[in-house]
């Protein structure tokens, strides 16, 4: 577990270094995810490897990690109350637009690809 967590943190640190050296607008952890993906592709870990257990453990409780930032809502209740309509409607409508567009484009192109392959 400790070895696994250390592996994840090392990937994140390598990611943090890479984004700064290459000057790309990506957060370090996202680059670290790519680093770990490459490492996993190069060498398949055993099912009970530390990194697998650490990854599964963290992902099982991924939602917990968003709570502290979410509690920040208490600081912005005044702003939210003052512009409740544009905020709530803007958030909901743009969320739905992104969800539906992504699903429509992906489903459409996947179907198109399948039809082409069948022909």
């Amino acid at each position: 577990m400790i070895t696994g967590l250390l592996a994840l943190l090392t990937c994140q640190l390598v990611g943090e270094l890479l984004v700064r050296l290459l000057d790309v607008p990506v957060p370090g952890p996202v680059a670290g995810m790519v680093v770990l993906l490459v490492a996993l592709q190069l060498r398949e870990p055993r099912k009970d490897a530390g990194v697998v257990r650490a990854a599964e453990g963290l992902l099982r409780h991924l939602q917990l990690l968003f709570v502290p930032a979410g509690v920040g809502v208490v600081e912005h209740l005044a702003v939210i109350g003052a512009s409740a309509v544009p905020l709530v409607v803007g958030l909901a409508v743009s969320w739905f637009a992104a969800l539906a567009t992504t699903a429509a484009v992906a489903a459409g192109l996947l179907t198109l690809g399948r039809r082409r392959a069948e022909r």
Partner: protein
């Protein structure tokens, strides 16, 4: 030290904040279990309400809470790295349809930005709110950084981002079912683009494939948004 002084020291300690957060999250997962795993009961939402109410009741400000809260939040970094694991297991499936997936992610994250700014502005929201709203579909650390780039309010963006994630986790799977989207890859992708990590956490419970595609979409839409937001927001506000 009398009782009041002792309690003062305890309620403003980081340990109190960590324990409160864990207890509130447990309450959330317990409620979800009681509801038979319903997506309507979101553990993040429950935990935020419980922590927020408790902080108000015991009179602790957010800054003090965050001294302990940030100890938990720091694990968001390695947890994001950990998304490489389900992605690794599904990579063959991803590779087979890379073109459609990438196109959907790029288009979807652009739509999220444009519609957020346009709708917020047209309903009378001010420019600052629209700029803070623009990056809210992307993952929290990227959203905060992008909000700074376009002169929004980063702390407000963080809150809007998490509210979007909760909305995505609660309503996303249902709406996709209503829209007759059954392909697990497409479901994961759509939730990952529109509702980042909190949506991904929900999709990981739906299936490994949906979770992997959601994590992938979250990562790639973070990249796409890093281009879209600075490009589109100055033109729209």
């Amino acid at each position: 030290m009398n009782v009041v002084e002792a309690w003062d020291a305890v309620r403003s300690s980081p340990v109190f904040a960590v324990a409160l957060t864990l207890a509130a999250y447990r309450a959330g997962t317990w409620l979800r279990g009681r509801s038979g795993g319903s997506a309507w009961v979101n553990p993040v939402l429950v935990a935020i309400v419980v922590v927020g109410t408790t902080l108000w009741a015991v009179d602790v400000d957010y800054g003090t809470y965050l001294e302990g809260g940030s100890i938990i939040a720091i694990f968001l970094g390695p947890a994001t790295v950990a998304l490489a694991w389900p992605l690794h297991l599904e990579l063959r499936l991803v590779r087979r349809s890379a073109g459609p997936l990438l196109s959907a992610i790029v288009v979807g994250s652009g739509v999220a930005v444009v519609v957020a700014v346009v709708v917020t502005r047209s309903l009378g929201g001010d420019e600052l709110l629209a700029r803070s709203m623009a990056p809210k579909s992307t993952t929290t650390p990227v959203a905060i950084a992008l909000s700074e780039t376009v002169a929004g309010v980063p702390a407000l963006t963080a809150v809007l981002t998490i509210l979007t994630g909760i909305l995505g986790a609660v309503a996303g799977p249902r709406l996709l079912t209503l829209l007759r989207v059954r392909d697990e890859r497409v479901r994961g992708l759509a939730v990952g683009v529109s509702a980042h990590g909190i949506g991904t956490a929900q999709m990981l419970q739906e299936s490994r494939t949906a979770g992997a595609f959601s994590g992938l979409a979250m990562a790639l839409s973070a990249l796409a948004s890093s281009v879209w937001v600075p490009l589109l927001v100055p033109r729209l506000t």
